[in-house]
Assembly symmetry: C2
């Protein structure tokens, strides 16, 4: 919702931002206007959430910036509603199997799982490329030897919000996070239920920017 | 700016959205209220930009949704202000050189250039992995043999907005776009001046969501 403020309303905001809390009388004085003249402007600024009024204290600045709306919005969007389907490989598979799986599924990262889909680790294109240019045969190296292993894997749950998930991607410099259901927090037994990747974020970004309802 | 609408204001919006243009009298009738009672609500909705009023026509819906603010914001942010530094390799380099460059620079994509930094193509981790598991020696295959070649490379310029750039990433299913300066549009002579990647988008996303001014 873009509000078009009048020049006077902007002046009022500026005064309150710099000098608040400040009474209506004092604002009127600064603008050489009567309190009655200002009343509609103050009512609108208050109802629109720019200002807050407290009895016997006065007005203070409470306006939200566009960036704050973004922040609120992104914190309401949950990983479970935006995650991609999981792409997993058994910890008994070879590096060669993992490379084939990545091409077949067209993904850049795989979750490596034990029995019952329990997360054992993750493996990326970068990890595989490292093996592929090495001396070893990709068909003889098990993925479990080159993967990032639990408990060092950064994960998210479906209940996490997309802002925090995106922050984990940036802060840990990874392209993908397994979305997990926690079966046993103490023993780090996580079931893999999806992926949250930079592609996921880019799709949300485009969706949000497309002027459609979300 | 988040505006908190009263229940009655939301009812009014809904009526105007469905039946506008509609006069104040007609809205009042629908709500079993007097025109005078509604006046402050209509004034606020109009000043806040939700409704527009035209003399002798009535009120019609003009409100912007949060998603529209997003869209506007993202269209104001330009690629040149957010792009990453270019990482390039000569078209005379080998696949092995490209793999080494990717590890050294820790990037997933390289721009392949001719003399004077003119874009010849792009190469991804996926392209390199394909060669690495093949029969050929990575040291004997030139990158120019396996890269995506101009004019098939999707590019953006610094003047493009980040929304359109992100959309190109999604629609073309690529992880990275070379940011270029167009030297000769007809002959597709582009100088590489940066990168715009899913990592770039994820960083903007986190920045926008961080409740800070942007």
């Amino acid at each position: 919702m873009a509000i078009e403020l009048s020049a006077r309303q902007q002046q009022i905001l500026e005064i309150v931002r710099l000098e608040g809390p400040i009474t209506g009388e004092q604002i009127a004085e600064k603008l050489n206007l009567t309190r009655a003249t200002l009343r509609p402007d103050l009512a609108i600024l208050t109802m629109a959430g720019f200002l807050e009024a407290r009895p016997r204290v006065g007005y203070f600045y409470a306006g939200k910036k566009t960036s704050e709306i973004f922040g609120e919005q992104l914190r309401k969007m949950l990983v479970k509603d935006h995650k991609a389907v999981p792409v997993v490989i058994s910890e008994n598979a070879t590096v060669y199997d993992a490379i084939v799986a990545m091409f077949v599924e067209d993904v850049g990262n795989l979750s490596v799982v034990k029995d019952h889909g329990i997360l054992a680790g993750v493996i990326s294109r970068k990890d595989l490329l490292k093996v592929a240019i090495g001396k070893q045969e990709t068909q003889s190296v098990p993925v479990s030897l080159v993967m990032t292993r639990m408990p060092n894997v950064i994960t998210v749950t479906g209940e996490d919000n997309v802002y925090n998930a995106a922050r984990k991607l940036v802060e840990n410099a990874v392209d993908s996070l397994p979305v997990v259901k926690v079966l046993d927090a103490e023993r780090k037994q996580y079931e893999v239920i999806g992926r949250f990747t930079k592609t996921t974020v880019t799709k949300i970004f485009v969706e949000l920017g497309s002027n459609r309802e979300i």
